[in-house]
């Protein structure tokens, strides 16, 4: 059994093919996840639509207002982009820490987001940076905040007639610190047991002016830790306050047992690694 492979050269052509083949079509960019699911026999589409030849979906551009990453930009292109490094070094480090260089050379950011595996690295960091995705359909374009993109394991709020075309990351307010930490008890290229992304900005008086925290591998989707954020907003982030805020992550996550840790262990580790991430931002502001 095989499928027909299509390589449209424009988004309009891709949308056309999707309309023609409906549920029998599957989109791929780098095709890493697809190849695995196909080999496992979990996907049997009649038509596969490859997006990699669509020129407008690639590349990375930066303006004063935002960083725009094309959906078919590979993890490695993003890791090596000077624009990304200028925008946010923690974003560069996040991409550099994904799996191995082989995977980063093939897997794309658009594919990563559309695949919606809750243990992936870029989603929590992009959530903490307030990113949004652009989705195109025959009806036009719309943007979806990353906070609203992930619905369930492997499930996004993208409609079946939409193509994810780009990821937009707004410019960070001056003085914003960012970090991405992941707990890897087994190997460096593994998926994390838990991962934590955080951004923080301080007032001149040393209070928290702005904070965003997001976690991966702690439930069916990557998730914002709003209880942690609320506990820190306006506070002087001393060690006790951070420990208290980090403990509140329990209310924001819904982990389930997987091969990288039981739900209970993930809850413990989410608290520990949230505290570490927040402390590193406070200690790093000097």
């Amino acid at each position: 059994m095989t499928y027909d492979y299509h390589e449209p050269e424009t988004v309009a052509e891709a949308l056309d093919l999707m309309a023609r083949h409906g549920e029998d079509a599957h989109l791929v960019a780098g095709a890493t996840a697809f190849t695995l699911l196909w080999r496992q026999g979990l996907l049997r589409p009649g038509h596969v639509i490859g997006l990699r030849r669509i020129v407008g979906l690639g590349g990375i551009t930066a303006t004063d207002k935002e960083l725009v990453i094309g959906a078919t930009a590979t993890h490695r292109e993003i890791e090596r982009s000077a624009d990304v490094a200028r925008h946010c070094p923690a974003l560069t480090r996040t991409f550099a820490s994904v799996a191995t260089v082989r995977i980063r050379n093939q897997a794309t950011l658009g594919g990563n987001l559309a695949h919606a595996d809750p243990a992936q690295d870029p989603p929590p960091m992009l959530m903490a940076l307030g990113a949004e995705v652009v989705a195109a359909s025959a009806a036009g374009e719309r943007t979806i905040a990353l906070d609203d993109l992930f619905v369930d394991v492997f499930t996004t709020s993208l409609r079946s007639d939409e193509v994810l075309t780009a990821i937009r990351v707004p410019a960070l307010a001056p003085g914003t610190h960012a970090t991405y930490l992941k707990f890897l008890p087994q190997t460096a290229d593994d998926y994390a047991t838990v991962s934590v992304a955080a951004t923080m900005r301080f007032t001149d008086d040393g209070e928290v002016a702005d904070v965003r925290v997001a976690l991966g591998a702690c439930g069916p989707t990557p998730v914002r830790a709003r209880s942690v954020e609320d506990a820190l907003a306006g506070a002087v982030p001393d060690a006790a306050r951070i420990a208290d805020a980090a403990a509140r992550v329990d209310a924001d996550i819904a982990p389930f047992d997987d091969v990288r840790g039981s739900a209970g262990y993930k809850r413990d580790m989410a608290r520990v690694w949230t505290e570490r991430a927040l402390l590193s931002l406070v200690e790093g502001r000097a």
Binding site: T2, T35, L36, R52, T100, R102, I103, Q106, T187
Partner: protein, 135 residues
Amino acid sequence: MRADRRLIDALRDDLGCIGTKEGCSIGVCGACSVLVDGKLLSACLMPAVFVSGRAVTTVEGLARGDELSPLQDAFIREGGFQCGICTPGQLIAATALLAERRRPSDDEIREWMMGNLCRCTGYHGITRAIKAAMA
């Protein structure tokens, strides 16, 4: 070619280039490492149709005639392999590393080669060989 053929299938079964090995089949072990237009990739994850019109380098392409590449020579001199099953992937990954960074540090070598597993655990020999090839 069938659309669902992977690069590893095309190399080994269709072209008879059996130097590239298939290990885990899920992009983790590195045995099937190849270069596509100089980029290091897992041939087990790459649809063969994706390399149409691009240059694929496998372990068979590292030597020039009878002359081994400096890395191949160093792997032999430094004992960079034991059973040998992971060696084609190790050589290809190391070739990509030295093409990108002329003089990687020990940490950079370890980080780059982290994705190529050696079940004989001959990692010291592999690292030694890469450093010898840089000299």
